[in-house]
Every structure is written in structure tokens, then in C-alpha cells.
């Protein structure tokens, strides 16, 4: 099939058409030259022939005239024609006619009048004037052609002298078609010959004319009658003239066609030689684009070969670079370990995955602390150590580092063992001291577990990592992926949207939990706690939305709302006669926020009683200098500082010492079971002593029963708070609650009535 866009076709077509055009020009030039030449040659021949023919006429005419003259001089003839005996005259003339072998003969007198005639009739009438003229002048007239009765007649006349001129003998010989044919045969070319009267006013150009594909040549020949000039016309068909050259032209055309065919074939061949390597190169380029190695073999020894060599080099270079990139893309830059991508790919390529394959996300606990303590290089080395150990203990599985401090492993449990047993074994192997740069470093790990077999939209590694987060959030070392819990986190996002509208629509409220002086047994203050009663969701717990508000920045408006409400409540309480210290939780996230601190202090100015901000100690630990300065600002503004949830985090005595706090709240974790756990009691006691030694009052949270009240009071704990003493309640209820205490006599027996109201 002919493909027009192929180079070979293009080149072939171009060359062939060029050649054909050239040959066409040659053919045209040749045709023009040849026909011109043929015309000239034939014209020359025609002219020559006409001269020959004319000469023939003149010669024959002269011969006849001479013979006639001689015969006329014969005495007997003269005697006969002057005999006035008509039969004698006629017979003498007939004898003469036969001797001369002419068609007609006549005797005329000096005036041209016919005296006698034999044979063919002759145009004597037209001759008479000329004859009589000659008779007077005794001048000869050369013989010539005369046309009579549409026939050309070679004719002439001679005087009859007896001895004076007594008349003329006129001879005439008809030029028949066969005579003309005979003459025509004398020519080397087949001419058509005609003898015609000269046209009126016709000029003899002496040139050959071309008319209607025929060559015409007219040439005047001697005429017998001067008034009737005669023309010899030679005609020659050009087609006949060109016939010898037609073969030449046909040969030329055939050569042109053959040449065009050969040229197009040759140029196609040459073009294919050029185009084939180009096609190979194009295929190679496609391979390279598809990321495959390509090798083109071109041995033309020209630029194409250079191109092919360059292409091959390019391909291998690209392969090498791609390999390097691939390698890099699958390596963690810090540790040089296979990264998440490499792990995922290995996981996907693993044909041996089965239902008992699990993917583990293994997080190194407190890695950021380790890294900030040891530096990046050492922590990277630690990761490598852990990785190697993990790799050694997971057998045929794959391992990789999937995030800064999380390693991943595909893990097959030993047959007969539960996942719990296997992972516990693994943890025991990994929870050890690794030697990094000669130093032992204790490592504990947490583990997220995802089963491969379970049908999930979420990829297994991601599930494992989520499971790790879930484990850490729950404060346990191991968790299996919990779909429902994860879906809850996605619900968190919409929760935030609702929080914003809750703030706007006042679905939030503030409740107040009383704080008791454990020595006097009377309430000395309240802690303001935010409550969210959503019309759709019902009651949303602070544990759910406070951390989210911190993450999303809504904590500012939330805290401000609580602060404003609390101050209003404090004023209302004072107006009702209750003078209470108002404690407001102040998020650690807001400690460094100077702008919000200003806002908070402005509100605090309107406080009608003592105001306390409860702040977790970890809030200050991240940036101690700035945090302490911020707290000092509050203290300077007359706001008390309480260290909230002491003992739940990584409590640092060094920071505790520096904090400008007036109160320390022991986390309820230590209080809830204080009546049953000696250990908790001991911790509570030492904490109380520690706080007192630092000049702080101590509040115990989570007091659930009277025993705890007594125990804590005995330990010297200053203030108590808990469901046993009073639940968080709205302002109105608080009012009633406080009024009830007063009504009950405000005795030291504070447990009576409190539970009634709570």
C-alpha cells in the first residue's frame, strides 16, 4: 500500500516527477527541433522538386518547339500547307503530329485564325492575339503551359516561313495525371503535384507555406499565354514529413517512461535506506519513552549511524539515571533504609501474601526526644539498628521506614500462634538497649497492626499506621486497626464545624464545680467547665472537642467565652452573697499567644473576686522561658496560676520550681483510688509535700468518697474537688447548692447535703 507520508514515497515521487518533467522538456524541445528540422528538410526538397519539375517542363517544351520548328521547315510540309488543298493540309499536319508525338496540332494564319487542326483541340482563341503580335514582330515565344478545358497543356508554336511568315503551327501536349504522377515519382518525397492558374494578384514568395498540416509550395512556371500565368503547386502532408521522426519521438517517450520508472524505483530504494533507520530510531524513541532500554543498529556509516549511536547512548544513560532515581525514590534520605514507597511496592509484588500476613507499623516511643538528645545522625543510626533487628525477626517479610520514627514490616505469624503472642514476642525482641556509637540506648516500641486479609478501602500500611496512632492515643503499646474509631476521627472534622456554630448559637454553656477547703469544709471557689449540648448530637464531652478546638484554633474563642461567662457568674454569685474564687482552664496552646493573653487580662480586670487560670505544666515545658514569662504577666495582673493535671505528663521538677504558680492540682488518676492504693497515696502525699515546699497550695481532683476526703485532709491537702464534694452544675443550680449549704448550717460536716444536691 502506498503511504504518501513516507519519506521513500516522497523522495520517489519528487525525483520521478523531476525526471519526468525534464524528459517532457527534452521531448518537447526534441519534437519542436525535429519537426522544425523536418519542415526545413522537406521544404528544401519541395523547392528542389519544383525546380526540377519546372526544368522538365521547360526542357520538354523546348524540345517540342525545336522538333516542330525543324519539321515545319520541311519543304514538303511547307508545300503541303500552302497547297490550299484542305485534305492535303490536314494530312500533313497529322503526319507532323504523329512525328512529334503530341496530342494536338493546328495551323493558324498570321492573325492567329485557325486554318486547320488535328488531334486534341487547342486553345487557339486565347492564343490568336499573341500569335498575330508575334507575326508582326517575327519574335519567338517560348513554349509554356496553358490550361484549356481544365487540363494543363504543354504548348508552343513556331512560325511557318514560305519563305516569308505565312502562319504558325501550334502544338499541344496534354499533361495528364499519369504524366504528373511520373514527374512526382522523380522526387525523393511523395509529393502531390498540381498545375493551376495563378490567382489574381498572387505574389510568389518563393517560400513554403504550412496550411492545415500540409506544406504548400507554389511556383510560377512558363506560361504559353502571357495573360494566363500558370502555377505549379506542390503539396506535402506534414504527417508524412514527420513520419520518420515519429519513431524517434516514440523511442524518446519510452526512454522517458522507463527512466522515470527506474528513477522512482531507485529513489525509493535510496529513501528506504534512509527511512528504515529513521523508523528504527522512532521505535527506539518509543521504547525509551516507555521506560525501556532501546538499542538501534544502523550501519549506514553516515549521520544516521551517528544518530543511532547517540540514541543508544541516550537510552542507556536514561536507564542508568532512571535506575538511580528509582533507587533514590525508594530510599529514606535520612537513614538510607527502604522507604514507604519501596515497602508498598514490595508488599504489592509479594505473591506469598496470605490471610495470616499482617502489616505492622512500629513506632519508636519518644523518638523526638531521643533525636533532640542524640542528634540526627545517631538517631538515624538507631533507626538502622532497630530496622536490622526488625528485619532479623520478621523472617521473610518486608521491612521499611515509612515515616520519621515508624518502621513497617510485613509479618507472618508462626503457625499455631495468635497475633497477640507473635507481636508480643517481637516487642520483647525490640524493647532492648541498642548500641549507638558505643552507647546503649533503651528503646520501647508501640505497634499498629493491620490484617492483610480484611476487606478494606484503606490500604493495609495506612491502616497499620492508623492503628499505631490509635495505640498511642489510647496509651497502650499495641492496637489493631479499629475501623469505627478511625471513622470517628473523620467525624471530628464535622464536629469542628458544629463547634463553630455552637459558639454562635449558644449551644455551649458553662458549669461550675465547687472546690472545697478541706480544713474548713466550706466551698472557697469553683472551676468553670464548658459544656456542649448539641441539639443533634446530644451532649458532647470536653475530651472530644477541646483537643480538636486546640488543633483547629477555635480554643481562643472557646476560652474567651468561658472566661466571660465565668466572670458574669462570679458577679452574680457575689451579688447573691457568695464570694468565690473563679478557676478557668487556660489551654497550654494559648500560653504563648500574647494577643490572647492581652484579651484575657482585659476581661480579668472586670473580675469581682479572685481569678485563677488552670494551666497544664506541659504547656510551659515546650518553651519554658516564654511560657514562664507569660504566666508571670498573669500573676502580675493579679491572676492566680494553677498547675493542672499534675502527674499525668512528664513532670519536671526543674520547671515546676520555676513556675510562678500558687496552686498545684494533683491529677485525678492518683486520687480516684487513693483509698485502695498505697502507692497512689504515697505519691499524693509526696506531691503535697513537694508543692507545699515550693509555696503552692494543693488541690486534689477526683475525690469520690469520704475516705479520700479524710485521707487527703490528713495529708495536708488544701483543697478538694470531685463528684463526692460537688458535680459541675449550671449557675442556678450552684446558687441553690450554695444556699442549701448555708441553710444546713454551714457545719463542718460538709459531706451532708453535698451528695444530696450532686
Amino acid at each position: 500500500m502506498l503511504q504518501l507520508n513516507r519519506i521513500s514515497t516522497k523522495l520517489g515521487a519528487i525525483y520521478a516527477s523531476l525526471f519526468a518533467a525534464m524528459m517532457l522538456v527534452i521531448a518537447l524541445v526534441t519534437y519542436a527541433t525535429v519537426t522544425d528540422r523536418a519542415r526545413i528538410i522537406v521544404s528544401d526538397q519541395v523547392v528542389a522538386s519544383s525546380q526540377v519539375f519546372t526544368h522538365l517542363f521547360v526542357e520538354r517544351g523546348a524540345d517540342l518547339q525545336k522538333d516542330t520548328d525543324l519539321q515545319v521547315r520541311d519543304y514538303g510540309f511547307r508545300s503541303a500547307v500552302t497547297s490550299e488543298n484542305q485534305p492535303t493540309v490536314l494530312s500533313a499536319l497529322e503526319t507532323l503530329r504523329q512525328r512529334l508525338a503530341v496530342d494536338g496540332l493546328a495551323l493558324v494564319d498570321n492573325d492567329g485564325a485557325e486554318l486547320a487542326a488535328v488531334g486534341a483541340e487547342l486553345p487557339l482563341t486565347s492564343l490568336s492575339a499573341q500569335v498575330s503580335e508575334n507575326a508582326y514582330d517575327e519574335i519567338d515565344h517560348a513554349p509554356g503551359v496553358v490550361i484549356y478545358d481544365e487540363q494543363a497543356v504543354l504548348s508552343g508554336y513556331v512560325g511557318v516561313f514560305a519563305p516569308n511568315l505565312i502562319g504558325f503551327v501550334v502544338f499541344g501536349d496534354v499533361i495528364s495525371d499519369s504524366d504528373i504522377a511520373e514527374i512526382a515519382e522523380l522526387s525523393s518525397i511523395p509529393l502531390e503535384v498540381a498545375i493551376l492558374p495563378k490567382r489574381d494578384g498572387e505574389q510568389m514568395t518563393g517560400e513554403v507555406q504550412t496550411l492545415g498540416g500540409r506544406l504548400h509550395f507554389r511556383h510560377e512556371i512558363p506560361a504559353l499565354v502571357d495573360e494566363q500565368p500558370i502555377v505549379l503547386e506542390l503539396t506535402y502532408p506534414l504527417s508524412v514529413a514527420f513520419a520518420p521522426f515519429r519513431a524517434l519521438l516514440i523511442t524518446l517517450i519510452l526512454v522517458a517512461l522507463a527512466g522515470a520508472f527506474i528513477i522512482s524505483a531507485a529513489s525509493c530504494f535510496v529513501a528506504r535506506r534512509v527511512a528504515r533507520p529513521i523508523s528504527h530510531l522512532a521505535e527506539a524513541a518509543d521504547l525509551v519513552r516507555g521506560g525501556k532500554e532501546a538499542s538501534v543498529s544502523v550501519n549506514t556509516g553516515d549521520e544516521l549511524q551517528d544518530l543511532a549511536t547517540a540514541c543508544n547512548h541516550m537510552s542507556s544513560e536514561i536507564q542508568a539515571r532512571e535506575g538511580e532515581l528509582k533507587l533514590r525514590a525508594r530510599r529514606d534520605p535520612e537513614t538510607g533504609l527502604p522507604n514507604r514507597r519501596a515497602f508498598e511496592e514490595a508488599l504489592m509484588d509479594d505473591a506469598e501474601m496470605s490471610s495470616y500476613t499482617v502489616v505492622l507499623a512500629i513506632g519508636i516511643d519518644r523518638f523526638s526526644e531521643i533525636r533532640s538528645a542524640l542528634g540526627f545522625e545517631a538517631s538515624a543510626a538507631l533507626l538502622n539498628e532497630v530496622f536490622e533487628s526488625l528485619e532479623a525477626h520478621t523472617g521473610t517479610g518486608f521491612t521499611g521506614i515509612v515515616s520519621g520514627d515508624v518502621l513497617a514490616a510485613s509479618f507472618k505469624c508462626k503457625p499455631g500462634s495468635t497475633i497477640e503472642d507473635c507481636t508480643l514476642d517481637l516487642r520483647n525482641q525490640l524493647n532492648t538497649a541498642f548500641r549507638v556509637q558505643g552507647n546503649p540506648i533503651d528503646v520501647t516500641i508501640s505497634m499498629g497492626i493491620a490484617r492483610l486479609a480484611t476487606e478494606h478501602d484503606t490500604p493495609v500500611l495506612k491502616r497499620a499506621m492508623i492503628a499505631l496512632d490509635q495505640a498511642r492515643a489510647s496509651g497502650i503499646w499495641r492496637a489493631e486497626y479499629d475501623q469505627n474509631r478511625y471513622l470517628q476521627t473523620s467525624a471530628n472534622l464535622s464536629l469542628m464545624g458544629h463547634l463553630v456554630s455552637a459558639l454562635e448559637k449558644r449551644h455551649l454553656s458553662v458549669e461550675y464545680q465547687p472546690k472545697y477547703d478541706l480544713r474548713t469544709g466550706s466551698p472557697i471557689g469553683v472551676e468553670a467547665l464548658v459544656r456542649w449540648n448539641d441539639p443533634d448530637r446530644g451532649r458532647v464531652f470536653p475530651d472530644q472537642f477541646i483537643p480538636l478546638a486546640e488543633e483547629t484554633g477555635h480554643i481562643e474563642s472557646l476560652t474567651e467565652y468561658v472566661l466571660v461567662e465565668s466572670l458574669k457568674a462570679q458577679r452574680a454569685l457575689q451579688e447573691a452573697g457568695f464570694d468565690l474564687k473563679m478557676s478557668v482552664n487556660f489551654s497550654g496552646r494559648l500560653v504563648g499567644n500574647l494577643k490572647f493573653a492581652q484579651t484575657a487580662m482585659q476581661h480579668a480586670e472586670s473580675a469581682v473576686g479572685a481569678l485563677c487560670f488552670e494551666i497544664t505544666e506541659t504547656a510551659v515545658m515546650t518553651n519554658p522561658d516564654q511560657g514562664i514569662a507569660a504566666l508571670q504577666d498573669f500573676v502580675d495582673a493579679g491572676i492566680e496560676i494553677s498547675i493542672d493535671d499534675y502527674g499525668s505528663g512528664l513532670s519536671s521538677l526543674a520547671y515546676l520550681k520555676r513556675l510562678p504558680a500558687q496552686e498545684l492540682k494533683i491529677d485525678k488518676e492518683f486520687i480516684l483510688e487513693i483509698d485502695r492504693s498505697k502507692r497512689d497515696a504515697m505519691l499524693a502525699r509526696s506531691t503535697i509535700n513537694l508543692a507545699h515546699s515550693l509555696g503552692m497550695k494543693v488541690t486534689a481532683e477526683g475525690i469520690e468518697n469520704e475516705t479520700a476526703v479524710a485521707l487527703l485532709a490528713s495529708m495536708g491537702c488544701d483543697i478538694g474537688q470531685g463528684y463526692h464534694l460537688g458535680r459541675p452544675m449550671p449557675l442556678e443550680r450552684l446558687m441553690q447548692f450554695l444556699t442549701a449549704i448555708i441553710d444546713s448550717g454551714n457545719s463542718g460536716d460538709n459531706d451532708i447535703g453535698l451528695s444530696d444536691v450532686g
Binding site: 521547315r73 517575327e138 516561313f161 514560305a162 519563305p163 516569308n164
Partner: protein, 121 residues
């Protein structure tokens, strides 16, 4: 040298075959007119015999002049003939009226060239 003298003229036809200077021949002309005499051997030879019964006749000299005397006054016809005269029958006819004076009569005519073609052209 011998000659073969002949005449085909209507006035007098004759044929005198080969004869020489020493053999005089005699021909009697019964009629008036012109007799042109040729030689059958010598084409170039030609002679003219003018036979007239007119009371006055003569031949001009080489200048074409002739003086004729003794012609009485009165009406008459003058005939001038010359073989090359370009006239009908090579002659001019003119009616004349003669008085007692002696008139000079001028006759004009065109003449033929008189160049005979050679027999062997």
C-alpha cells in the same frame, strides 16, 4: 553553288530544283501580286518579286526615296509595300489627288525588326 528556288505565293507557285549560275531558269508571272522566293537549301535566302500592272511603279533607294514623274493630275491610289512593313499585307494604301504641282508625299509606317530567328535556336 546550286540553289533550289521556290515560291509558295498565291501569285505564282514554282519550284526550280537544283540549278546553278550557269543554268538560267525562266518563270512567267501571269498575275500581279507579291511573289516571295526562297531557297530550300539556304534558309536565310529570301527574295520578293512585286508584279504590278500599275501605270507608275518603282523602287526606292536605300533611303526610302523615290521620285516618280509624268503622273497626270487627278485622283489616284498610292501603294507602298515593304516586306517588313508592319501593315496588313506589308503595304500602305493611300488615296491621293494630284494637281499640276509636284507634291512630296510622305508615307510613314512601323517596321518589323526583320531579325529572323536562326534555324538552330
Amino acid at each position: 553553288m546550286l540553289h533550289h528556288v521556290f515560291s509558295f505565293s498565291k501569285t505564282k507557285r514554282f519550284n526550280l530544283t537544283l540549278f546553278g549560275r550557269d543554268e538560267p531558269q525562266s518563270v512567267t508571272f501571269e498575275n500581279t501580286g507579291i511573289v516571295t522566293v526562297g531557297c530550300n537549301i539556304h534558309d536565310g535566302m529570301i527574295a520578293h518579286i512585286f508584279i504590278s500592272d500599275a501605270p507608275f511603279a518603282g523602287q526606292t533607294n536605300e533611303d526610302g526615296m523615290i521620285e516618280i514623274t509624268g503622273i497626270p493630275a487627278g485622283d489616284g491610289q498610292l501603294v507602298v509595300w515593304h516586306p517588313l512593313m508592319r501593315q496588313r499585307d506589308n503595304r500602305v494604301l493611300q488615296e491621293i489627288v494630284l494637281t499640276d504641282s509636284s507634291p512630296e508625299i510622305l508615307i510613314t509606317s512601323k517596321f518589323r525588326s526583320g531579325i529572323r530567328r536562326s534555324s538552330n535556336y
